[in-house]
Symmetry: C2
Subunit: 154 residues, 2 copies
């Protein structure tokens, strides 16, 4: 996914775009992962889950998390397990539907996330520093319309 086009033709320009997109996101992702590890001894998947929960103080179902984060159900199970065992998150069995459980940040998890998120936002600002605010807005617009055109997820 990271090599160059192997031919010329109609799809070439879009293939180039895809390769650039992928290389850019991998490079940034690698840098963020490294800093999360070094500075906060955590991982990107944990950060993702906590970020989602931080936006939903009322809690989220496992399936909400899985859908929102674009990862599989089983995947979320493992990450939440570990967050629970670290005291950052709780799984609350529900009376209404006993198949499901509400996942929420604990007090500690919320505090912890706020600190990490602040650093994270600065890192992203730094790593994308060469993109002007205006360019960022335009790029975001292009990517947004692309996704929402392609399929209905959010």
């Amino acid at each position: 996914m990271v090599a160059g086009p192997t031919s010329t033709g109609p799809g070439k320009e879009r293939l180039r775009l895809w390769i650039r997109l992928l290389r850019a996101s991998r490079t940034i992702e690698a840098e963020l992962r490294e800093r999360l590890k070094k500075e906060f001894d955590t991982t990107l998947p944990r950060f993702d889950v906590m970020a989602a929960l931080y936006r939903s103080p009322e809690g989220m179902l496992m399936s909400d998390l899985s859908r929102f984060l674009l990862v599989s159900n089983g995947n979320v199970t493992g990450i939440v397990d570990r967050l629970v065992s670290e005291g950052l998150v709780t799984r609350a069995r529900r009376n209404g539907d006993r198949r499901t459980s509400m996942v929420r940040l604990t007090e500690e998890g919320s505090k912890s996330f706020a600190a990490i998120a602040a650093a994270h936002e600065n890192w992203v600002g730094e790593l994308l520093g060469t993109v002007s605010e205006d360019e960022a807005r335009r790029l975001t617009g292009m990517l947004k319309s692309f996704r929402s055109n392609w399929e209905g997820r959010e």
Copy 2:
């Protein structure tokens, strides 16, 4: 990495961009992974390694692969191991420097890759279909300059 900004401020626009970038690449990546599995019973990492080797008929060192694909050394070892055991790739010990080995596609690997790459290019064209050729060129340019400004890898 996939949730929205948690605050307003100067870095907000770039954080939005990063989230869009990540969601776009994850969505496309997931779709490509699924099709590679279904249609060719292979994986993205295998495809990446084969794509790199296809561009270098003379072969690549393990460290070349690792650098080019932006993944760790140990990672490449495992993927190449599996490709070797499937007869798609060879590791040739070198006389000059016996620490290293040249990795090459076999005849079969080369044929196999050519077929997969053709399908792959069509898929990408389809998945990025809502982006015009012209827009694709502009986006690519932005992403390219961003990366080369940020650091010296290629």
